[in-house]
């Protein structure tokens, strides 16, 4: 039965993607991209990837739509007609699609227990997680402990991207006087003058933050963790900024504090690794952090998930502010 729901959702996904490419109204395209993310989140959930579904829903439907709208307010909300070499592109794309679909006939079927991907390392992680890490969520165990190096790298990629955006948009253009709040994107696109979103939004924000804390600290036991929680916190602050205005959001969380948060999170993660080395273990081997290895793993995962959460929160809100402070056209 689930197979048919998945097929239905995937068909919707293709239709949405076609609509995104076809429309010349970029505002509509950004909204459709949000819907696209929400449908893919549902599909991921049905494909047994609950953690991914949570992330995709928070990122795709929350943050990326706001970023697209911010960029559209600063550039143009309509695409000019005229595509170069449309025919060649269509021919190439159709040919590649045909080749790709032809090769899928050799792929293992969906859910095949004898597929190569289910036979090598995956059973090892499922078997050894209770013994070495002892947290119920295997995804968190692999992410934060077994493959802690990769996640450290990814946290630094997020941090670096944040630095890049701050370099590009952090300062006002040369010669431009300081903008009054009403001139910026947040001032123009804000929801300050709409009563219903304001009343409902204000009620929701504390609960969104509470849910983010739950997702952060319950990541060992259920779907969740630092990445998801960071995105959810960022989404709630962005909502607050749109409802109450940019200045109020910056009063609550000043720009300097956000930058500090982004750097502190990444450093906390790195220093946890160094602390493990100083205590006699390998880099990021949390087993040495407490009197027995399993507890050490629990502490280690808790600390580095907090680091990831700090960085993701700090970077995403900083990115939003740098778009929002730019003068709208």
């Amino acid at each position: 039965m689930t197979v048919f729901i998945i097929i239905f959702l995937l068909t919707l996904l293709v239709i949405t993607a076609l609509a995104i490419v076809q429309t010349s109204n970029l505002f509509a395209a950004a909204m459709l991209a949000g819907i696209f993310s929400l449908i893919s989140a549902m599909t991921f959930f049905l494909l047994d990837a609950a953690d991914v579904a949570l992330t995709e829903a928070a990122v795709g439907a929350g943050i990326s739509t706001v970023l697209f709208l911010g960029a559209l307010a600063l550039t143009a909300d309509h695409e000019r007609a005229g595509t170069a070499g449309r025919l060649i592109a269509l021919v190439v794309v159709t040919a590649i699609a045909a080749v790709l679909i032809y090769t899928t006939f050799d792929m293992p079927r969906l859910g095949d227990p004898n597929a190569p991907s289910q036979l090598h390392v995956a059973p090892w992680y499922l078997e050894k997680t209770p013994e070495y890490i002892d947290v119920p969520n295997v995804v968190t165990a692999v992410l934060a402990s077994f493959r802690g190096y990769d996640t450290l790298g990814e946290t630094f990629v997020v941090f670096t991207a944040g630095i890049g955006v701050l370099f590009l948009l952090g300062k006002a253009p040369v010669g431009q006087p300081k903008l009054s709040p009403a001139m910026t994107f947040a001032g123009k696109a804000g929801l300050r003058h709409y009563q219903i979103p304001r009343v409902v939004g204000r009620l929701l924000i504390p609960f969104i933050l509470l849910f983010a804390l739950y997702v952060q600290f319950h990541g060992d036991y259920g779907p969740g963790g630092g990445f998801q929680a960071g995105v959810i916190v960022a989404a709630s602050i962005v909502l607050f900024a749109l409802l109450e205005g940019e200045e109020r959001a910056l009063q609550a969380l000043p720009a300097g504090l956000l930058k500090l948060l982004a750097a502190a999170g990444a450093l906390l993660y790195g220093f946890t690794g160094v602390a493990c080395m100083l205590l006699g273990g390998e880099f990021l081997n949390y087993s040495v952090l407490a009197h027995d290895p399993v507890h050490g793993q629990h502490y280690g995962i808790l600390i580095i998930e907090a680091g990831v959460g700090f960085t993701v929160t700090g970077v995403l809100i900083s990115i939003f502010h740098s778009f929002a402070a730019r003068g709208a056209k």
Binding site: I20, A33, D48, V52, A71, R80, I96, L168
Partner: protein, 119 residues
């Protein structure tokens, strides 16, 4: 019939990948190109996540009293979970570059930007 339905995810992957690729190559508008790139990225996510599930399995989160439960593969989830958050950060970087291009050239259409560059 069921045998072919098991491949539907891969077909959607191929189609989405190529829809995204088409938007990146054939569209002139830089924001549209970036949206195309996110569709391309989502297609790759779908490919990885499709590898995960096992028939009769459930999400890889242990719960009490289910010793004989079959669990799906946790590894695709780990890979894609971080890729999504990295994806949004790089998307933001791309959008920031586009905003600066708009400020420098007054346009976000690739052909117009090339025209200005040629002058």
């Amino acid at each position: 019939m069921m045998d072919l339905l098991g491949l539907y995810n891969y077909w959607v992957f191929a189609i989405l990948l190529m829809i995204g690729f088409y938007a990146v190559t054939a569209k002139q508008n830089l924001i549209k190109k970036l949206i195309g790139l996110s569709i391309f990225q989502s297609a790759v996510f779908l490919l990885y996540i499709t590898i995960g599930p096992v028939e009769g399995g459930t999400a890889p989160i242990f719960h009490e009293g289910a010793a004989r439960q079959v669990y799906s593969n946790p590894l695709p989830s780990v890979l894609i979970l971080t890729a999504i958050v990295v994806g949004i950060s790089t998307l933001a970087l791309g959008l920031a570059i586009i905003v600066r291009i708009k400020e420098a050239y007054g346009s976000v259409e690739e052909n117009e930007i090339r025209e200005i560059d040629r002058q």
